[in-house]
C-alpha cells in the first residue's frame, strides 16, 4: 500500500479531531474548551471532504461551527460564574457518564467490526450526491415524513426558546 496525500490528510484531520476532543474535556477554562471544540468541528469537516461528501463538510462548518458553536459560547458567557473560579473537572455523576461512554464505545466498535469492508474507498461516489439527497428527502417512499417532522421539530425549538424568554 502506497501512502498517498489523502492518507496523510486523513491522519492530520484525525489528530485534529482527537486532540481537540481531548483538549475540550481536559482544559480548565470553559471558553477555551469551546474554542477547542471549533477545531474538532473543522477537523470533522475535513474528514467529510476526504469521504467525498462536500455537502456534509459544508453543512458541518455551517451548522456546527456557525450555529451550535456560537450557541455554546453564548451559553458559557451567560454563566459568568464559571469564568473566574475553575470548577472541579468531574461532578458526582462521573461514573454514570463513564459507563454510558463505555457502552457507546462498545456498540460503535462492534458495528464497525461488523460492517468493515476492505475497499470502501475504491467505490466511486457519484458526482450528483446532492441531487440524490434532494430526491430522497421529498420522496414519499423515502424520507418525506422525517423531512416534515424535522420542520415541526425546528418549530418546537423556536417555541421552546420563546417560552424561556417569557419566563424571565
Amino acid at each position: 500500500m502506497t501512502i498517498t496525500l489523502s492518507h496523510v490528510l486523513f491522519v492530520l484531520f484525525g489528530l485534529m479531531v482527537l486532540g481537540g476532543a481531548i483538549a475540550v474535556v481536559t482544559v480548565r477554562n470553559l471558553f477555551h474548551a469551546a474554542l477547542w471544540l471549533m477545531l474538532v468541528f473543522f477537523g470533522m469537516a475535513g474528514l467529510y471532504v476526504l469521504l467525498e461528501a462536500p455537502f456534509f463538510a459544508a453543512a458541518q462548518l455551517f451548522i456546527y461551527m456557525g450555529a451550535i458553536g456560537i450557541l455554546i459560547i453564548f451559553a458559557i458567557m451567560l454563566t459568568r460564574a464559571f469564568m473566574r473560579q475553575p470548577m472541579p473537572r468531574a461532578n458526582e455523576q462521573w461514573w454514570l457518564a463513564a459507563l454510558l461512554t463505555a457502552v457507546l464505545l462498545g456498540v460503535l466498535v462492534f458495528l464497525i467490526l461488523q460492517n468493515i469492508r476492505p475497499n470502501i474507498m475504491a467505490e466511486a461516489v457519484p458526482e450528483s450526491t446532492i441531487h440524490i439527497l434532494g430526491v430522497t428527502l421529498v420522496d414519499p417512499t423515502g424520507y418525506a415524513l422525517p423531512f416534515e417532522v424535522a420542520s415541526v421539530l425546528l418549530v418546537m425549538a423556536l417555541i421552546g426558546a420563546v417560552t424561556i424568554v417569557r419566563e424571565r
Binding site: 458567557m77 420542520s151 425549538a157
Partner: protein, 118 residues
C-alpha cells in the same frame, strides 16, 4: 471529486500565509517598550471598574437559537431547492409547507414578544 478540493487546500495555505505574514512582520519590526500605564484596558480615560466579563442578557441566546433553527432548515432546503423543478408538484408543496411552518413559528415568536429588544 477530491481533485476539485486541491485548489481549496492550496488556497487554505495561501490564506494561512496571508493571515500570519503581516502580524509576523509587525512582530519583527515594531518597537517593544512596555510600560504598565500603556497596558491598562481602555475605558474612557478612567481606570476600569470591575471585570469585563459581566453577565449578559438571555435575549442574545434566543437570537442565536433562532439562528440555529433557520440554519438547520437551510441545510434541509438546499438539496430540495436544487432539484424541485424536476420533481412532481407535491415535492414543491412539501418544501413550501416546511417553510410555512417555520414562518408560523416566527410569527408566533413575534406575537409573544420574544423578538422585542428589552
Amino acid at each position: 471529486m477530491l481533485e476539485q478540493f486541491t485548489f481549496v487546500g492550496l488556497l487554505f495555505l495561501v490564506a494561512a500565509l496571508l493571515g500570519t505574514l503581516p502580524p509576523a512582520l509587525a512582530w519583527l519590526l515594531r518597537p517593544k517598550k512596555p510600560h504598565p500605564r500603556k497596558s491598562e484596558p481602555y475605558e474612557c480615560g478612567i481606570y476600569p471598574h470591575g471585570e469585563a466579563w459581566v453577565q449578559y442578557k438571555a435575549q442574545y441566546y434566543i437570537f442565536a437559537l433562532a439562528f440555529m433553527v433557520f440554519d438547520v432548515e437551510a441545510v434541509f432546503l438546499f438539496p430540495w431547492a436544487l432539484i424541485y423543478n424536476w420533481l412532481p408538484l407535491y415535492a414543491v408543496i412539501e418544501g413550501v409547507l416546511f417553510l410555512l411552518l417555520l414562518l408560523g413559528a416566527l410569527l408566533y415568536a413575534w406575537k409573544k414578544g420574544a423578538l422585542e429588544w428589552v
